[in-house]
Symmetry: C2
Amino acid sequence: MTSLNAILRQKQHGPITITPETSIRKAVALLAEKRIGAVVVVSAENELVGILSERDVVRSLASSGAETLDMMVAQLMTPHPTTATPKTTVFEAENLMTDGHFRHLPIVDDGKLIGVVSIGDVVKRLIDEQADQVRNLRDYVAGVHAA
Amino acid sequence: MTSLNAILRQKQHGPITITPETSIRKAVALLAEKRIGAVVVVSAENELVGILSERDVVRSLASSGAETLDMMVAQLMTPHPTTATPKTTVFEAENLMTDGHFRHLPIVDDGKLIGVVSIGDVVKRLIDEQADQVRNLRDYVAGVHAA
């Protein structure tokens, strides 16, 4: 079974990060500029401290209105998000994200943040892999019948 | 292959809708209350006219700031979204959503909006179905060897 490392190796760039003291105004500009749905929050020491998603921002808009833009990332982020390692399989990752109802999984290796995979990345890989299995098994069955 | 009808039948309720003249302030309150990521926009005649997602709101926050809350749904929604029918297969739906980079697919039958399926719904069903196929083929192969 493929590990998350295979997905990370195909990424064009490292994880997009932001600090907890950044304003939501700047955070939404970053999400728009990078065309991403969530950004990883790291301390000055590059330690993972949270994740901020579009959903966190929209939920705050509903409860606090326009004040949201002047809040800090630390106030809206999900602290201590679930993480995985490069060795976590795509199957395990899909289960983590489905069970936990989140779409972005930070990947930590040896205490350091090395990437983020999205539910889209994981599902695409999982579906491709299962389709390969079905094809191989069908070819095998066809071979057995032909022999 | 399973059709989207199988997913719709498991839904607890019909689609959550909103009108194009509603304010974004009210729209984000609805998204929060219903715990959903997008809402279908319908005319007074219940005709589908667009879809409004958390992403649309956050992108507007980045470009227009706090004014976003006083805008109308019609200004930020994606008009004329791609739709499917109850007979569309989960495989076709997954391809539509992956290719088009959207997460919510309105289902229209005989000109009427009858539901919305999310990429999560579709992918879960697709993965379950493929896992069944792999299991059946493996059982078959094991049977051939035992015979």
